[in-house]
């Protein structure tokens, strides 16, 4: 068990290094030079050279990489080209908004997806099941940003005129917290909710067909107990795995939701930085997200082997 965990951690660190190097190389070979972006279209060659020197971009590539790697190991992501503030501070300021968005959305989609999926499996082939299936289909087909725009239009424009006030733009972590976040949460989780409903339903139907479930029923256990104790746990294992993976990957999709609802989170930060050519911020956020994805995968892997003893001895 410990050896497996150690191997996984080592693998995760290697992946992280690989992504860091890849992003660094990529951003530095990009054909749009940074000093052009910062200096503007009318900058003289001297100004451009000065900007390069200030940013340390005139040094040879391996030296730049060495400095980057050294700083990274000390937890320093460098300073923003545009504002000069440390990247870690910029990210830290935006992180609570994004975390709040993801956490609320994740609760909504996991709880909702599992509940709807159970409903569909336990009441398979009934009207309930069909209604859930139609809902799933709609969810699967709706891109998150379309959902966000539609919600914003209906609840913020139409209903505000008639007195219902459901959305308030502004920093999410202050007063009126729910009113600011409920629509972004729904928009973020709608597609995932559909996916999880389907996943849970399929997994539960698989388990419900197992022999030991028939045995449990034959023993005369009430259906509630059969589902609660014998079906739910094995059925949820693949769902939890998927949850860990999606949670990390979700940081990317918050870009869209934050843009539509005007939330000043990490997604907006990186979107603005890409437009401004602010390389250190882009690298910083990409690394942060990669760390999230890799950590999520790592935790899932280890949890999975705790849940399923067969995997420990592979």
């Amino acid at each position: 068990m410990a050896r497996l965990a150690a191997r996984r951690v080592l693998h995760a660190v290697f992946m992280l290094w690989l992504v860091a190097t890849l992003v660094f190389v990529f951003v530095h070979v990009s054909p749009v030079p940074v000093e052009r972006v910062l200096g503007g279209p009318r900058a003289t060659p001297e100004t451009l050279a000065q900007i390069r020197a200030n940013l340390g971009l005139d040094r040879p590539f391996p030296v730049q990489y060495w400095c980057f790697a050294g700083r990274l190991l000390r937890g320093d992501l460098g300073d923003s080209y545009v504002t000069g503030a440390p990247v870690t501070a910029l990210i830290a300021a935006r992180l609570p908004t994004t975390l709040c968005l993801i956490a609320g959305g994740a609760v909504l989609w996991f709880a909702g997806g599992v509940a709807l999926g159970m409903l569909g499996a336990v009441k398979a082939r009934t009207l309930w099941d069909r209604a859930a299936a139609a809902f799933v289909l709609l969810g699967l087909a709706t891109p998150p940003f379309v959902m966000a725009l539609a919600l914003l239009y209906v609840f913020s424009t139409r209903l505000t005129e008639s007195g219902v006030h459901l959305f308030e733009a502004g920093p999410p972590l202050e007063a009126d917290f729910l009113r600011r976040m409920i629509l972004p949460w729904i928009a973020l989780s709608f597609l995932m909710l559909a996916t999880y409903t389907r996943l849970t339903r399929a997994a539960m139907l698989d388990v419900l067909g197992e022999d030991y479930v028939r045995t449990a029923r034959a023993k005369g256990l009430p259906e509630r107990r059969v589902v609660g104790r014998h079906v739910l746990r094995p059925a949820l294992t693949p769902v939890v795995t998927q949850f860990g993976i999606d949670l990390g990957a979700l940081v990317g999709s918050t870009i869209v939701i934050e843009k539509v609802f005007g939330l000043q989170g990490v997604g907006q930060l990186v979107h603005q930085s890409i437009a401004a050519g602010d390389t250190p911020v882009i690298i910083g956020v990409t690394l942060l997200v990669t760390v999230c994805v890799i950590t999520a995968n790592l935790v899932v892997d280890i949890c999975y082997s705790l849940l399923d003893p067969r995997l420990r001895h592979r």
Partner: protein, 301 residues
């Protein structure tokens, strides 16, 4: 009477699926709408990139709604939404379909190579797959499209197709690799090897036919995902370069004014939704048709 092969049986099951038939009809309508884009342009006299501040905007600068000279309204610059939606349909369908096909071919190849070759090549390919899956794809895709700033529409579309395909390959290849690993241990592959079949022959004649069902299903489900991916990129301003319209970029550009001009949201949004919904339903029907064991009722439909 002739025996019916598995693909024939699957086709017959697919034909009986009424939801799939309706989806195909909707998609054909949207394809016709896209194909006739020059006709709409001709009938309205509004090229997709031309602005008509005089007729398309009201005196206050608000875009004019549907009706009269602009059947589906005008956008915030006074361009014709009908014509732009038709050209946008071309982009969405072209990018979605070609990216999905490209990803399917590349993913099948990579998955088969990794599964069959084993050893160092498998390790390398599997690590590459892990790496791509660990990257925040939307972020990297936006980064890619903005670093390589592209102004010509053709190059922009190619770039978008490549980006979408690239990030869809990994998941595809992973599934195929797993499938190949399972198939490799089966007796008929063993038998072929004992008969002296080469690796290439085993790959093409023994493994590939057994992958067709899986590949078809995955590709069918990849198409709506690719369309959404393109729309999201264009929405963020990192997809097809303006003034070429795409449903995503129409939604993105109209984002500031749609609160007073609902048609800027409704027209591209509804088209996008109908398209992805239809492709998703077709994908489901294909899966049910190719794998009849569960039947539609066991699957959430």
């Amino acid at each position: 009477m002739r025996a019916r092969g598995p693909s024939r049986l699957a086709w017959e099951r697919f034909k009986r699926d009424r939801a799939a038939a309706a989806s195909v009809a909707v998609l054909l309508l949207i394809a016709a709408f896209a194909a006739l884009a020059p006709l709409w342009e001709h009938l309205t006299g509004h090229p997709y990139h031309a602005t008509f501040p005089g007729t398309g905007l009201e005196a206050s600068g608000q875009p004019r709604g549907p009706g009269g000279e602009f059947p589906l309204g005008a956008d915030q610059l006074g361009r014709d939404v009908l014509v732009r939606a038709a050209y946008g349909a071309r982009i969405s369908l072209a990018v979605g379909l070609s990216a999905a096909l490209l990803a399917a071919v590349a993913g099948t190849l990579a998955g088969m190579l990794a599964g069959l070759a084993g050893g160092a090549l498998d390790t390398l390919l599997s690590r590459l797959i892990d790496l791509t899956l660990a990257l925040p794809y939307l972020l990297v895709a936006v980064l890619l499209s903005t670093t390589f700033q592209i102004t010509s529409a053709r190059a922009g579309i190619t770039m978008t197709i490549l980006v979408v395909a690239f990030f869809s390959v990994a998941a595809f290849a992973r599934v195929i690799r797993g499938q190949v690993l399972a198939l490799r241990r089966q007796e008929f592959v063993e038998a072929a090897r004992l008969l002296g079949a080469s690796r290439a022959r085993i790959m093409v004649a023994e493994i590939l036919p057994n992958l067709t069902a899986q590949v078809t299903v995955l590709t069918a489900l990849l198409i709506p995902a690719a369309i959404v991916f393109e729309a999201t990129l264009s929405f963020l301003g990192a997809g097809v370069p303006p003034p070429m319209p795409s449903w995503g970029s129409m939604l993105g550009e109209g984002g500031d004014v749609f609160q007073t001009a609902w048609w800027l949201l409704a027209v591209p949004g509804a088209l996008l939704l109908l398209t992805t919904l239809s492709f998703t339903m077709i994908g489901d029907a294909v899966r049910d048709a190719l794998d009849p064991r569960g039947g539609p009722a066991a699957r959430g439909r």
